[in-house]
């Protein structure tokens, strides 16, 4: 996973609530078996059908910080939604509320999800609409979003922050505790379900 420390970029203001993962990337784009190349499916229906859609506007073409309405990422568990955003050039998504699985997936794939109050989301929308070139800095070390002289703190737990700063892979971390896993397995009752042998 690519480490995340601090990122400066411009904002794509997505004035929609409850953006579900079927909108971020529809099912037909999930058939790829590699981990990259998902940018073609990113918001594809809105890109195709809605000329005013934010990513169809040239002034937002280079944006790397997506700022969306509440309840971003509801629906399917597809991590492809995070990969599509990363492949589409985004490093950060800001919203007042995320769906759990999406937020969890983002921390595994190196996409930073930042929760800010809706008033701050509106301020970012207004700033990006007034001047699409407005730079925003998202600093994970300092847990702070800065734009136009405003510095807004955000919360992230120490453990997640450390993993993201280091770009660490969870499997490697868990393998350090293999002895605990073995001890747990020795205590499991014999009647628990077993897939093999097939019956």
């Amino acid at each position: 996973m690519q480490p995340f420390t601090t990122h400066t970029g411009t904002v794509a203001p997505l004035r929609r609530s409850a953006v579900d993962t079927d909108q971020i990337i529809p099912a037909e784009y999930l058939k790829r078996i590699t981990r990259t190349g998902f940018e073609d499916g990113l918001f594809v229906a809105w890109r195709r059908d809605e000329p005013d859609f934010v990513l169809n506007q040239p002034q937002y073409a280079g944006a790397s910080v997506l700022v969306a309405g509440p309840d971003f990422g509801t629906g399917s568990s597809r991590e492809h939604a995070c990969w599509a955003l990363l492949d589409g050039g985004f490093r950060v998504v800001i919203s007042s509320r995320f769906a759990d699985i999406f937020k969890n997936n983002s921390t595994k794939s190196g996409l930073l999800t930042v929760v800010l109050p809706q008033a701050e989301v509106e301020a970012l929308w207004d700033a990006a609409e007034a001047d699409p070139a407005t730079p925003v800095t998202v600093d994970l070390r300092e847990r702070r979003v800065t734009h136009g002289g405003r510095a807004v703190p955000f919360e992230v737990d120490d453990y997640t922050r450390w993993r993201l700063l280091e770009g660490l892979d969870d499997v490697g971390l868990t393998e350090r505790h293999l002895a605990d896993v073995e001890q747990y397995e020795a205590r499991r009752p014999a009647w628990l379900p077993q897939v093999l042998p097939a019956r």
Binding site: D71, E79, P189
Partner: protein, 472 residues
């Protein structure tokens, strides 16, 4: 301290707990399908890792599989490549796979319970958000992303944080023609599509206890549509009887030990829920959605809402966007909405009881001439059972199409898709834009509303059929 059922199951699976780090949770059963697993297996290979517990891992083909001509190779080369990748990975890593054509094949959340692998008090994960279905047995079951699939394959554990606890209590008796689907759609409309974020929901109350296992699965299945991490129901005699004699249920002395343990799996008296929601079963009616998320639903007696009546700008915009996509006019009675296609199936409502309910309404009647109806059993097991009961003939004689098992038009990764602008009444779980096919418009309904709608060509409650003659 008194604990909730979900807390008990969680605590029993903590491998390691250290301040400032997530807990490490043991996973009893890992279900795998072709869409969210290929990159996880690639990750294992790249790191030279193996699957730690193939004996606790089960794979099936469901999302991409065609429902016609199921014994031929898949025609779409991209779908075929994904299914082939699963077959190669299962063979290489020693995982049991139920491929197309196999007796055990079906939607991942239908086959787990059917095989008796889904058991009370266990932890179950799958790279699929509707893993919450298995909570109907009193399991802690939740959907994960592909990085986590890789983590579970490699270690049989997952780093987790404790969830908050929510109770949804439904007391009283459900009126005739009102089903589990209507209950859960009403719950989601009340708390919102992400209203249960961060929570595990326990469904309780006399109306829940009266439900069959199939109906409980319908409810737990859609917990994710309220944003919950998981949803569960305490096991009882209904649960025990469902599992008795299933292929992978415990046997002999093991069965007795397991049942004794299952009987302890209840929320303690005095346990505290962070959030409590209460519904009166007797007040519920058939529910249908009008919008583009599962929280945008109303009783079928209602009308399409008017965005102009909403004070909040964000809400107004959301309703306007939904109605524009759905091609609906504010004030239209929901019963006047004409549908082109009815889809009966999915992990929400593709089980035998759902097919029986719909067949009972269709028996001796013909579906509307301008409407097509697709009936897709959730698994090969469900299909064989339905055929043994003659339900397939009821459907075909009514003019519906009887298909092979899979996810099908729930998400249209196979050829079963809506055309742009086509409108469906669907027993699945998501009415998101384009979910059933580009530009397709979805109304979520129960199996009995689906059948009634197929007969009239408009959204219809089963009780409305009194004046539609049954031909025989």
């Amino acid at each position: 301290m008194p604990k909730t059922l979900a807390e008990k199951v969680y605590d029993a699976h903590v491998v390691r707990s250290t301040a400032g780090e997530p807990d490490l949770l043991y996973i009893d059963l890992h279900l795998v399908h072709e869409v969210t697993s290929p990159q996880a297996f690639d990750g294992l290979r790249a790191a030279g890792r193996t699957v730690r517990r193939p004996d606790l891992t089960m794979a099936t083909e469901d999302h991409n599989v065609p429902t016609l001509d199921v014994l031929s190779p898949i025609a779409d080369p991209v779908s075929r490549a994904q299914v082939d990748a699963l077959r190669r990975n299962a063979a290489e890593f020693g995982i049991r796979l139920a491929p197309m054509g196999d007796r055990d094949q079906g939607i991942v959340h239908v086959i787990g319970p059917q095989l008796g692998l889904t058991q009370p008090g266990t932890t179950i994960v799958c790279g699929d958000s509707h893993t919450s279905t298995h909570g109907a047995f009193g399991a802690l079951a939740f959907g994960i992303g592909t990085s986590e699939v890789e983590h579970v394959l490699a270690t049989q554990t997952l780093p987790q944080y404790r969830a908050r606890q929510m109770s949804v209590t439904v007391d009283g008796e459900l009126p005739e023609g009102v089903s589990a689907k209507d209950v859960i759609l009403a719950v989601i409309a009340q708390i919102g599509t992400n209203g249960a974020a961060g929570h595990v929901i326990e469904y309780r109350g006399s109306a829940i206890e009266a439900l069959s296992m199939e109906a409980r699965m319908t409810i737990c299945n859609m917990s994710i549509e309220a944003g919950a991490r998981a949803g569960l129901i305490a096991p009882d005699e209904t649960t025990v009887e469902f599992l008795r004699g299933r292929p992978h249920a415990p046997q002999g002395a093991d069965w007795d030990a397991a049942v004794a343990h299952w009987r302890t799996l209840r929320t303690d008296e005095g346990a505290v829920f962070d959030t409590e929601v209460v519904l009166d079963a007797a007040s519920l009616t058939p529910f249908v959605t009008w919008g583009t998320n599962p929280g945008q639903g109303l009783p079928i007696s209602g009308s399409v809402p008017d965005p102009a009546s909403l004070a909040d700008e964000g809400e107004r915009r959301a309703v306007e966007q939904a109605l524009a996509y759905m091609g609906l006019t504010p004030g239209t009675p929901l019963r006047e909405i004409e549908v082109d296609t009815v889809f009966l199936g999915s992990c929400t409502n593709g089980r035998i009881e759902d097919l029986r309910t719909a067949a009972a309404l269709l028996r001796g009647r013909r579906i509307d001439a301008g409407t097509r109806m697709l009936v897709v059993p959730g698994s090969v097991g469900v299909k064989l059972q339905a055929e043994a009961e003659g339900l397939d003939r009821v459907f075909t004689e009514a003019g519906a199409e009887w298909r092979g098992a899979g996810c099908s038009m729930c998400l249209g990764m196979n050829p079963d898709q809506l055309q742009p602008g086509e409108r469906s009444a669907s027993t699945s779980n998501r009415n998101f834009q384009g979910r059933q096919g580009k530009g397709g418009r979805t109304h979520l309904v129960s199996p009995s509303v689906a059948a009634a709608t197929a007969l009239t060509g408009k959204l219809t409650a089963p009780a409305d059929l009194a004046d539609v003659p049954a031909g025989v």
